[in-house]
């Protein structure tokens, strides 16, 4: 059985930065990621893609190569295409790579599993041709596949980045249907101090908006009453803005209203989570180093709360320092000295967050969808069904499983969990914390019998 000091799940900025720092302190590190190449969501496939189309993706994307290069350091084993499906006592990880199950033992585990796009249940969001905006960006980044006639729907900085990347690729979106309102912007102004301290983010946003404007992309703001229509696939986006009804014919719809922590792995081992009102999502309960209440387990990056790639890398390093101290590779003084400057950098990167969160809030009608709208994509359970369960006495997401199949499909609630919590909290006039979330049990991803049968007791991995 392979054994390392530190096993990291996720080779995004958080995981990669942590691996490099920990190995630099003398720890043996194994970093596992289900993607075939390192980078995580922001820097997906950067080593291969930067020379091909780094110009369209932007300077920030190309910069990810500094982190992927760090994985070549001695002491780091990168297991690519390795899906971790269980975290067991020990700690021990069970994963599948190349169709074979395997185990790895570690003295400590770091979860750096990143974010998911916030579920955006709207009428028609399950039609083929409707994807998350992040999916549209993944198609461009990893595969160079561009939607010819796409409409972007939603709000937030990532939506502008993706629109600008589409413009540069020569396939600008047909239109942007933006959901933030004037009122959101005015309300956000109370956070303007932080926004000005985080001016680099604002400047970048303005630059993107300029590119989108120069390309002549039509922007609608304050959109509501949004529906995607079509027979068997997306054919149009319909909405109302400033009292006027619109219909835009298209082939592809990219939805986005923010990202939320991917908490599946943390929940599967019983890490406590609490509701974050500013970010409107659950976040794991951590100390200032990313340590959880579960022994030998830290969490860093967007999976710990949304901060973006720079914050993710800094948090990864902070966690690695604390882990190195716990494993006695460094002493507490060294940890604190090195940690202090990382923490300062992190605070300054986070300064613009409250402004951005308030200026681009999630779309209310996607948080409390109409009764007929599908919430659980896997099992096709509607918002009305969930409200019906509440009337029958269902108080939390785990109980919905006794009433119907919500959250029981293969995605294990990844794209319905937050919606179900929010609908039940509202129906039952309860807090989100009291309402809770689905109980997540391993395997985190389906495992086939063939993969288990091929399980090798002494897998090859880090020395």
């Amino acid at each position: 059985m392979a054994r390392v000091d530190l096993a990291i799940i996720g080779a995004g900025p958080a995981g990669m930065a942590a691996a490099q720092l920990a190995a630099g302190k003398g720890l043996s590190v194994c970093i596992l990621d289900e993607q075939p190449r390192a980078g995580g969501q922001i820097y997906r496939d950067v080593d291969r893609v930067a020379p091909l189309r780094g110009d369209l993706l932007g300077k920030e994307y190309i910069e990810g190569r500094a982190l992927t290069a760090g994985l070549g350091a001695p002491g780091i084993t990168h297991l690519a295409g390795a899906v971790v499906w269980a975290i067991e006592e020990g700690p021990r990880l069970a994963y599948t790579q190349d169709g074979k199950g395997a185990l790895i033992d570690a003295r400590h585990v770091l979860l750096a599993t990143g974010a998911l796009e916030r579920p955006m249940p709207l009428p028609g969001w399950t039609l083929p041709g409707v994807m998350t905006a992040g999916a549209g960006q993944i198609l461009l980044k990893q595969s160079g596949v561009m939607a010819r006639r796409a409409v972007l729907v939603g709000s937030g900085p990532l939506l502008y980045l993706i629109a600008a990347q589409m413009v540069r690729a020569g396939t600008p979106p047909l239109a942007m249907v933006e959901t933030q309102t004037r009122g959101d912007f005015t309300g956000a102004l109370r956070h303007i101090g932080g926004a000005l301290r985080g001016w680099r983010y604002l400047l970048k946003g303005l630059g993107l908006l300029n590119e989108i404007r120069r390309a002549g992309v039509v922007r609608h703001t304050g959109a509501h009453g949004i529906a995607i229509t079509g027979e068997g696939r997306a054919e149009a986006v319909e909405f109302t803005a400033f009292g006027r009804a619109h219909r835009i014919a298209c082939d592809t719809v990219f939805l986005h209203h923010g990202v939320v922590p991917n908490t599946q792995a943390a929940r599967s081992v019983g890490v406590a989570h609490c509701w974050n009102t500013q970010q409107r999502c659950f976040v794991p309960e951590l100390d200032g180093w990313g340590a959880t209440s579960v022994g030998c387990l830290h969490i860093a990056g967007d999976g710990a709360g949304i901060g973006g790639a720079k914050v993710a890398a800094l948090a990864g390093r902070l966690a690695a320092l604390d882990i190195a101290a716990r494993l006695e590779a460094i002493d507490a003084t060294a940890r604190d000295t090195e940690g202090a400057s990382l923490r300062r950098a992190m605070l300054s990167e986070l300064a613009a967050r409250p402004f951005l969160d308030a200026a681009y809030p999630p779309l209310p009608e996607a948080l409390a969808p109409a009764d007929k709208t599908i919430i659980c994509r896997c099992e096709e359970v509607t918002a009305g069904d969930i409200r019906g369960y509440a009337r029958l006495g269902c108080i939390g997401p785990n109980q919905t499983k006794a009433f119907g199949r919500a959250g029981m499909g293969p995605c294990q609630g990844r794209y319905c969990g937050l919606s179900v919590t929010q609908i039940l909290a509202k129906e039952n006039s309860q807090s989100h914390d009291a309402t809770g979330y689905y109980r997540i049990r391993p395997p985190l991803k389906p495992v086939t019998l063939g993969e288990l049968a091929a399980m090798d007791d002494a897998p090859e991995a880090a020395e």
Binding site: L116, P128, G134, A135, M146, C411, Y415
Partner: protein, 98 residues
């Protein structure tokens, strides 16, 4: 290049291999992400849901939603987590199968 297709492939020059999807013969770029390559070839519906038979295609492209499921050698797998290889035989998962 077919401008009527919903997606355009910026890496169209890549070497192609033979793949079949539901009996349809396709030539897809070798080593490309399978879901992206199928979309690039004009395939929008990958499967039908077990509950109502509604058509579905890729939604998240990051292995989280399971809407891109296809059947390979009798096993359902996420197309967005696979790469194109020569001679791949794919089917739509049977409607009604969980």
């Amino acid at each position: 290049m077919n401008n009527a297709l919903p997606f355009e492939d910026l890496e169209a020059g890549r070497a192609r291999v033979a793949v079949s999807f539901g009996g349809q013969d396709l030539h897809l770029p070798e080593g490309a992400n399978l879901a992206a390559a199928l979309l690039g070839a004009g395939i929008t519906t990958f499967r039908h849901t077990p509950a109502s038979g509604a058509p579905r295609g890729p939604f998240c492209m990051m292995g989280a939603c399971f809407d891109c499921l296809v059947e390979v050698d009798g096993v359902t797998r996420q197309a967005c987590m696979m790469e194109v290889s020569d001679g791949l035989v794919l089917d739509m998962p049977q409607a009604g199968e969980r």
